[in-house]
C-alpha cells in the first residue's frame, strides 16, 4: 500500500529532526574537548552515543505510537525519544545536566525518562527489554489497547534478557513489539562475531513469534512492518519481532577511533542515507522540492537552537540535590500503625 504524502512527509520531517538534533549535539559535545579530548570536559560530559544514520527505524516505528504507548530504549536513545514526541527543550537540558532537564540532571544522555510519553532507557545492554514486557503485562491486565515497544541493538539480542523477555511476551501473548536495530556492530564487534545466525528474525521461531527482517535504511519498509506489528499487538494477538538492518554513521560513541571498520564500508553505507533515500523518493513523486527540504531543515535547526538556548540558560541543580530522589518516601507513609 502506497503511503500518503502526509505520512511520508511526516516521516521525513522526523528523520531530519533527529539527524539535526544529533549532529548539533555532536558539535556541542566537542566544545571544551578540543584540542585535547577530555571526556569529562565541556558542556556535555560523559559518553555520547548518537543515532545518526538509524533515523528510519525510530521514525518508522514511532509513527504508529501514541504518547501513552510505552517505549524502552538503550544507551543510544535520542532518536527514539524524539520520534516519540519529546519536548526537545527538556531533553536537551537533561543532556546538559541542567535542573530543567527531564530528570533534573540526574539521568543524562543514557538515562532519559519521560513518564508522560511512557519512555525509559538506560545504559545496560538488554536492560530495557524486560521493562517492555512488564509494561505490556500492565496493559493487558487493564484491558487497554496500548502497545509496548522495546528498541535494542543486534548486540543485545545475544544477552539472556532478550531470550527471557521474548519467551514471556509470547507465552503471555502480550501487546509488545521488539525492534532489533541491527547496525552491524556492537562497539567494535561485528554481528558475524557475535551472532550465530544471520538474522535475528530467525529467532522468532524459538518463541513462536512472527518475525521479520527489514531494510532499516528504508523508512517505508520499517513503517509498514511496524504498522503490522503494532496493529497485531493492539488487537491482542501478541508480540512481534522486527530486525531492521541499518548503520551508525558516527561510530559507537563520540571519540570512537573506528579502527575496526573495514575500509570504505561506512562510505558505502552513507550512499544509502535513509534521509536522502526518502528525499529522493519524495522528489521523484513531486512531493518535495529542494526549497521544501531546506525549509524543513531550517525549521528543525531553529527548534533545536531554541532547545539548546533553553538548556544553556538553565541552571545546574544545586549540589544538595544529589541527595534527594533516592526514595519517594524517605519517611514511612503517614498512615498510623494500628497495632503494636
Amino acid at each position: 500500500m502506497a503511503l500518503s504524502r502526509e505520512t511520508l512527509l511526516g516521516l521525513y520531517e522526523m528523520m531530519v529532526k533527529i539527524r539535526t538534533f544529533e549532529e548539533r549535539v555532536a558539535e556541542i559535545y566537542y566544545e571544551g574537548k578540543q584540542p585535547v579530548f577530555n571526556i569529562a570536559a565541556g558542556p556535555v560530559p560523559g559518553e555520547m552515543h548518537l543515532y545518526s544514520g538509524q533515523e528510519a527505524v525510530a521514525a518508522g516505528v514511532c509513527a504508529h505510537l501514541r504518547p501513552d504507548d510505552p517505549v524502552t530504549s538503550t544507551h543510544r536513545p535520542h532518536g527514539h525519544l524524539i520520534a516519540k514526541g519529546v519536548d526537545l527543550k527538556r531533553m536537551m537540558a537533561e543532556i546538559f545536566g541542567k535542573e530543567t532537564g527531564l530528570c533534573h540532571g540526574k539521568g543524562g544522555h543514557m538515562h532519559l525518562f519521560d513518564p508522560e510519553l511512557h519512555f525509559g532507557c538506560g545504559g545496560i545492554v538488554g536492560g530495557g527489554i524486560p521493562h517492555a514486557v512488564g509494561a505490556a503485562l500492565a496493559i493487558k491486565k487493564r484491558g487497554e489497547d496500548r502497545v509496548a515497544v522495546s528498541f535494542f541493538g543486534e548486540g543485545a539480542a545475544n544477552i539472556g534478557a532478550f531470550h527471557e523477555s521474548l519467551n514471556l511476551a509470547a507465552l503471555w501473548k502480550l501487546p509488545a513489539v521488539f525492534i532489533v536495530e541491527d547496525n552491524l556492530y556492537a562497539i567494535s564487534v561485528p554481528k558475524t562475531a557475535s551472532t550465530a545466525v544471520r538474522s535475528n528474525a530467525e529467532r522468532g521461531a524459538a518463541y513462536g513469534i512472527p518475525a521479520v527482517q527489514v531494510d532499516g535504511q528504508d523508512v517505508v519498509a520499517v513503517y509498514e512492518a511496524a504498522g503490522e506489528a503494532v496493529e497485531r499487538a493492539r488487537r491482542g494477538e501478541g508480540p512481534t519481532l522486527i530486525e531492521a538492518v541499518c548503520y551508525r554513521f558516527r561510530g559507537h560513541f563520540e571519540g570512537d577511533p573506528e579502527h575496526y571498520l573495514p575500509e570504505g564500508t561506512k562510505e558505502q553505507w552513507k550512499q544509502r542515507d535513509p534521509i536522502a533515500l526518502l528525499a529522493k523518493q519524495l522528489k521523484d513523486q513531486g512531493w518535495l522540492t529542494d526549497e521544501d527540504a531546506q525549509a524543513i531543515e531550517e525549521r528543525m535547526t531553529a527548534l533545536i537552537a531554541e532547545a539548546e538556548a533553553f538548556a544553556r540558560e538553565s541552571a545546574y541543580p544545586p549540589p544538595e540535590a544529589a541527595l534527594t530522589d533516592v526514595f519517594v518516601q524517605a519517611e514511612s507513609p503517614r498512615e498510623e500503625q494500628s497495632h503494636g
Binding site: 510505552p70 524502552t72 532537564g101 527531564l102 530528570c103 533534573h104 540532571g105 540526574k106 539521568g107 538515562h111 525518562f113 513518564p115 511512557h118 525509559g120 538506560g122 545496560i124 536492560g127 527489554i129 524486560p130 521493562h131 517492555a132 514486557v133 512488564g134 509494561a135 505490556a136 503485562l137 500492565a138 496493559i139 491486565k141 509496548a148 539472556g160 534478557a161 527471557e164 523477555s165 519467551n167 514471556l168 507465552l171 534527594t324 530522589d325 533516592v326 526514595f327 519517594v328 518516601q329 524517605a330 519517611e331 514511612s332 507513609p333 498512615e335 500503625q337 494500628s338 497495632h339 503494636g340
Partner: protein
C-alpha cells in the same frame, strides 16, 4: 477473646491477600507461587482467591519477570515478585540493582517503582552453598532499595502491608526457619498472635524484643530467636542481655541502636550473613562513629566466618551462629 495465632507464612499470605483486595493494582508473580502456594508457603491460598491473572506462575526467568515487575511498576501497577531463594539473585541482579533500585533516582524523581521483591533466606537444614545464604547486606549496600527482614508472624504481616503500600522498591527477606513450615524443624516462635485486620509497621523502627542492661545484642530474622534463647540462658548466669530486632536495614533505626549501646556499654552483633564487608561491620562502624566513648569493651560479632555454607551437618552447624555460640560470645564480651 483468644488471640488468633498464625504462622509467619500465613501472616505473609494474609497481608498480600488483604492488599490485593484493597488495591487492584497489586498482583504477584513468581515460580510455583500459584497451585503450589509458594515453596515456603508465602502465597498459599492466593491463586484460589484471586485467580491466575493476579497470581502468576512464571517460567524460570528471573531476569525477565523481575524486570517485568519493574516495567509494570513504572506503568502504575504494584507488583510483588517472589525470588524463590535469595541465592538465585545473581541471575536477576542487573534488574534489581541497576533498574529497580535506580530508576527513581535516574529519572530525577519522576518515575516511581512501587514493587516488592520477596525472597527466602537462611540455612541450617543442609541445603548447602547455593540455597542457604542470607545476603541482605548486598542489597542494603545498594542505594535505592528498602530492606525488610522480619522475625515474627506479627512483624511479618505489618511489614509486608507497609512494603506493598510503600511507593519505593522494597526487598522483603523471610527466613525459612521462621515460616512455621510443617517440614522444617519446629520453631515455636514461628507461630504467634496476628490481628486479622490489616495493619502496618513503619520502616526504620527497630524493636526491642527483650530489654536488658549488661549488653546489647543487635540482630534480625531467625537470629532474633536464637538471641532470645541465648538471653534466657544468660539471664540464668546473671547476665542481662538486651535483644534488638532491627527489622529493617534500610532505613536503619540508628537511634534505637545508639540508645541501647549508651545504656549497656557493650554490643554483640549476631548475623547469619557472611561476616566481612556486610551488616556486622556497618553496625559496628555506626556505633564507633556515634558512641565510641560509651563502649566498655570492643564490639563483638558473630556471623558466618566468610566461608560458603557447607553441606555436612557438623560443618554447617559450625558456621551458622547457634544459641550456644551466642551465649559464649556474650560471656566473652562481658569478660573483657
Amino acid at each position: 477473646m483468644a488471640e488468633r495465632l498464625l504462622t509467619t507464612a500465613r501472616a505473609i499470605a494474609e497481608a498480600i491477600a488483604q492488599e490485593m483486595e484493597r488495591d487492584e493494582r497489586v498482583f504477584i508473580m513468581g515460580e510455583d507461587i500459584g497451585a503450589y502456594g509458594g515453596i515456603f508457603g508465602a502465597t498459599q491460598g492466593l491463586l484460589e482467591k484471586f485467580g491466575p491473572e493476579r497470581v502468576m506462575d512464571t517460567p524460570i526467568s528471573e531476569m525477565g519477570f523481575i524486570g517485568a515487575a519493574v516495567g509494570a511498576a513504572t506503568e502504575g501497577m504494584r507488583p510483588i515478585a517472589e525470588l524463590m531463594f535469595v541465592d538465585f539473585f545473581g541471575v536477576a541482579m542487573d534488574q534489581i540493582f541497576n533498574h529497580m533500585a535506580k530508576i527513581h533516582y535516574m529519572s530525577g524523581g519522576n518515575v516511581n517503582v512501587p514493587m516488592v521483591l520477596m525472597t527466602a533466606i537462611g540455612g541450617g537444614y543442609s541445603d548447602a552453598a547455593q540455597h542457604s545464604q542470607c545476603l541482605y547486606s548486598l542489597f542494603a549496600h545498594t542505594p535505592g532499595i528498602k530492606v525488610v527482614v522480619p522475625s515474627t508472624p506479627y512483624d511479618a504481616k505489618g511489614l509486608m502491608i507497609q512494603a506493598i503500600r510503600d511507593d519505593d522498591p522494597v526487598m522483603y527477606f523471610f527466613h525459612k526457619g521462621i515460616m512455621g513450615l510443617g517440614w522444617m524443624a519446629p520453631n515455636p516462635r514461628a507461630t504467634g498472635p496476628v490481628p486479622e485486620e490489616p495493619y502496618t509497621i513503619p520502616f526504620g523502627q527497630a524493636d526491642v524484643k527483650r530489654e536488658g542492661s549488661d549488653l546489647t545484642i543487635l540482630t534480625l530474622s531467625l537470629m532474633v530467636h536464637r538471641s532470645l534463647d541465648a538471653a534466657e540462658q544468660l539471664a540464668e548466669e546473671g547476665i542481662s542481655a538486651e535483644v534488638i530486632d532491627l527489622r529493617t536495614l534500610v532505613p536503619l533505626d540508628r537511634a534505637t541502636i545508639i540508645e541501647s549501646v549508651k545504656k549497656t556499654h557493650r554490643v554483640l552483633i549476631v548475623d547469619e550473613d557472611y561476616k566481612s564487608f556486610g551488616m556486622s561491620g556497618e553496625l559496628i562502624a555506626i556505633i564507633a562513629e556515634e558512641a565510641l566513648d560509651y563502649l566498655d569493651a570492643p564490639p563483638k560479632r558473630l556471623a558466618v566466618p566468610d566461608v560458603p555454607i557447607p553441606y555436612s551437618r557438623p560443618l554447617e552447624q559450625a558456621v551458622i551462629p547457634s544459641v550456644e555460640g551466642i551465649v559464649q560470645a556474650a560471656r566473652e564480651l562481658m569478660a573483657e
